[in-house]
């Protein structure tokens, strides 16, 4: 951004409404705009954000109109035209022919697939970058339900600040100009803006569009009367803890053999404090710990959608005296949470108990009787190690029980057969008790590998939740591989059908692409490694499913 552009931005809303006097001298509003903001132009049909992508920036419309897709599931814009890989499960015959169709050389690609000549989506070089675009916008507008976003409106801010996925696809309707602001810029403006207009705007948008649906994901709120839910939505507080760049210190932490993290984690509720409400996690993970001699002992953790502090409020309602928390809650990395005030929780409990007494059998299924629904293990040391090493991020953590594993490597061979003769994991990794956590993708709940992918080639499959890489759009920039704290993404040289390296036509440098475990998304029956293990030693665990975690790590 040039000084002239910054000047003109400061004269127009929304920045003209921000009081610059609240900002630090070392970090004035002018510098934030200069360093964290850019103006980008879009042509008709250019896709700005796609539903399901991770992004770390928000957008403000300067001129032109945007279209936001309103539909979900069946009637939404198809993955093919959005430049996504469509996951198709191989037929029995296709699986069988892999045995003799597989190339002897690893990582063989069809040139057509890499060069996108056969792709069903459209891309073009425009405004200094490669963009995927919708070819006939008018036809798209006729076929799919969309809403118009006009100049002066923001979008993408909730996903950028909350580190959650984009909830809708947005594309340009005609020629437009947007202001893109990195999350660091929004964070600084929110911190120093005395008026708090932007903060208020972001919170209002979330309250209006998503809060009610988010709260109703927990059984506690499902039977809530509309009037009470309305009051809850109005009074809920939003809190953010931890550093957004928490994965960077974590990468350094992995090199540190002591793995001491809990001392540096921001505390949400201290042990012995009286809870001012229940904390419900929006994004990120939280550690539950108890004082143990001169330190903290991990006794559980919370994932998105889980709540803390309900036990204490329930006990308070029963005993009519305040009950202090018997554990501490702290943020692991970056965490967004909502706090529902105690008075409202008490109202919900009273309302639920009344409806329970009127129709006890039916409601018993809906209202959780007690507990903060956290994931717990009998072995505190193992639990602590899983949390400290961030394995609790995994929605599909690969675990090998070394008490059963004969080191036959059938899992590695099965993986190689399924993936271009190149296994997508290494049977080596840290050993916690008798469990080895191999070097394989965890399919994290907070996939930081996706944050800075310039083409959106690495994405979460919306149907199954797996993180996969689209070979057609991966440009081999290695951003995902360098972001992954578990080093589970590997850059590989790709080859043509004859086994020769595919090279850039101009520089003659070999082309590389990112590869990782895709849970055999295109194979029948799921991960081949798991099915190939003769001793059931290799299994996968969703670390956010309390029952499965307990079952998996019970000796």
């Amino acid at each position: 951004m040039t000084d002239e552009m910054v000047e003109s931005l400061l004269k127009a809303p929304p920045f003209s409404k921000i009081d610059p006097s609240g900002f630090k001298r070392s970090l004035p509003l002018r510098d934030i705009l200069k360093n964290d903001v850019r103006i980008i132009g879009f042509d008709e049909g250019d896709i700005i954000v796609r539903r399901g992508d991770w992004g770390n920036s928000a957008f403000f419309i300067l001129s032109g109109n945007m279209r936001v897709e309103l539909e979900r599931k069946q009637t939404s814009l198809p993955d093919e035209i959005l430049g996504r890989r469509t996951s198709r499960v191989k037929t029995f015959w296709e699986s069988l022919t892999q045995l003799w169709h597989n190339n002897t050389e690893p990582e063989v690609r069809e040139i057509a697939a890499v060069s996108s000549s056969k792709a069903t989506f459209h891309s073009r070089n425009t405004h200094g970058g490669t963009r995927i675009y919708l070819q006939e916008v008018s036809a798209v507008l006729d076929k799919y339900r969309t809403a118009r976003l006009e100049p002066g409106q923001w979008f993408g801010e909730v996903a950028a600040l909350g580190r959650t996925s984009r909830v809708a696809t947005v594309f340009s309707e005609g020629v437009s100009q947007l202001l893109e602001i990195r999350w660091q810029g929004i964070r600084d403006i929110l911190r120093y803006d005395k008026e708090g207009s932007l903060k208020q705007y972001i919170e209002d948008v979330f309250r209006e569009r998503a809060l009610s649906a988010f709260l109703r994901t927990d059984p506690l709120f499902q039977a809530c009367q509309p009037e009470l839910m309305q009051r809850i939505v109005e009074q809920v507080e939003f809190h953010t803890f931890g550093n957004y760049d928490s994965h960077q210190p974590f990468k350094q932490l992995l090199e540190d053999q002591n793995h001491k993290t809990d001392g540096r984690e921001p505390v949400i509720i201290r042990e012995g404090d009286y809870p001012s409400g229940i904390v419900m996690i929006r994004s990120g993970l939280a550690r539950i710990s108890q004082r143990h001699y001169n330190g903290q002992r991990t006794i559980g953790y919370l994932s998105p959608g889980q709540i803390f502090g309900l036990d204490e409020i329930q006990a308070e309602v029963k005993g009519l005296t305040p009950v202090a928390c018997n554990a501490q809650l702290s943020a692991i990395g970056h965490l967004n949470a909502v706090l529902v005030p105690t008075a409202l929780v008490e109202e919900i409990l009273v309302q639920n108990s009344q409806s329970k007494s009127s129709d006890s059998q039916k409601k018993k299924k809906n209202v959780r009787p007690t507990g903060s629904q956290s994931v717990k293990l009998n072995d505190d040391i193992l639990l602590s190690q899983l949390v400290d090493r961030h394995y609790v991020q995994g929605t599909s953590l690969m675990v090998i029980d070394l008490d059963r594993c004969t080191r036959c490597d059938d899992c590695v061979r099965a993986c190689a057969t399924t993936h271009d003769n190149n296994p997508r994991f290494i049977r080596h990794g840290p050993i916690l008790n008798q469990y080895m956590i191999p070097n394989s993708c965890l399919h994290c709940v907070d996939p930081i590998c996706m944050i800075e992918c310039p083409t959106g080639a690495i994405f979460r499959d919306l149907a199954q939740g797996d993180i996969i890489i689209n070979e057609q759009t991966c440009i081999g920039c290695a951003q995902c591989a360098s972001n992954c704290p578990f080093n589970a993404i590997r850059m590989v040289d790709i080859r043509d059908a004859k086994g020769a390296l595919i090279v850039d036509s101009q520089t003659q440098a070999p082309l590389t692409q990112a590869t990782k475990c895709d849970l055999c998304i295109d194979q029948r029956g799921g991960p081949a490694c798991e099915r190939a293990c003769p001793h059931d030693a290799l299994f996968r665990v969703d670390m956010h499913d309390a029952t499965k975690v307990e079952e998996a790590f019970s000796p």
Binding site: F92, L402, R407, Q434, C533, P534, H535, D536
Partner: protein, 273 residues
């Protein structure tokens, strides 16, 4: 699902019941004055082919034809069941013909190598976990070489005078130990005699060393421990990896012999009395 086959009481009960049914059927069939050997032999051959099918399943890991663990459990179950069939087939007698005797021995070696493999696959993982760092088998020579290089550099550093104690000790007691895998049999038998012997030699050397040499000796002791653990990992990983190279070829030879035996029987013997 994660339970091992014979930890399950139902499986043992099923094995006993099926075995009894086979024995009873054989006796009933014998009442008709038919040759039971023809029936037991045919069933045995089918069982052998099905057992060999497990190896094929391992190659077809990409197909949705059941988990390999389920196939293995069936393989063990059927393998044990063949012993009942085999005993009925040979009528509890050692065959007197040369070819039949070879076939008899072949079956026994396949059966017992299978049982041995079954026991090894249950015992060795636990032993591998109990000692030393987890190392991929193919990388063990590299780790061994690294340890040896480190030891050699320590010995070189301590070689300051003409009569250096540590280089002499290395030449006399440690060189062969670090050069390759050692004490395999002792590791298999869980004996630690070699370590005690080395430890005694080290203790005996200590009074003759200066402080710098003592520090080097301490580092050497650590490397001895690492190398010994690596040998331990090597020998057990080698056993579990090499075992199929005994069981699988013997199985193929058994199938070939059994097919020839079947052809010969069909050509020269009648099926009923």
């Amino acid at each position: 699902m994660r339970k091992i086959l014979f930890q399950n009481r139902n499986t043992i009960a099923a094995f006993v019941i099926i075995s009894l049914i086979i024995v009873a059927s054989c006796n009933l069939f014998a009442i008709t004055l038919s040759h039971t050997s023809f029936v037991t032999g045919t069933v045995l051959l089918i069982c052998l082919l099905m057992l060999a099918g497990y190896q094929l399943r391992k190659k077809l890991s990409i197909l949705l034809i059941g988990k390999t663990s389920a196939w293995l459990q069936f393989h063990i179950f059927l393998g044990l069941l063949t012993s009942v069939l085999f005993m009925l087939h040979i009528k509890m007698q050692i065959p007197d013909g040369l070819f039949e005797f070879v076939l008899f021995l072949n079956y026994l070696t396949v059966f017992f190598s299978g049982v041995a493999g079954w026991i090894l696959s249950r015992r060795i993982p636990h032993r591998l976990l109990s000692r030393g760092e987890e190392v991929i088998f193919e990388r063990i020579p590299l780790h061994r070489r690294n340890i040896h290089e480190k030891v050699k550099s320590l010995v070189r550093e301590s070689n300051t005078s003409e009569k250096a104690a540590i280089p002499d000790f290395y030449e006399e007691h440690l060189r062969t130990f670090f050069e390759g895998p050692r004490n395999q049999l002792r590791h298999i038998l869980h004996s630690e005699r070699h370590r005690h012997e080395l430890s005694q030699k080290i203790t005996a050397l200590k009074p003759f060393l200066n402080p710098q040499e003592l520090a080097v000796l301490q580092q050497l002791t650590e490397q001895i421990q690492l190398k010994d653990d690596l040998d331990y990992q090597y020998v057990f990983q080698a056993i579990i990896k090499l075992w199929p190279f005994v069981h699988v070829p013997l199985t193929y030879s058994l199938i070939i012999f059994a097919l020839y035996h079947t052809l010969a029987v069909c050509a020269f013997a009648s099926t009923s009395g």
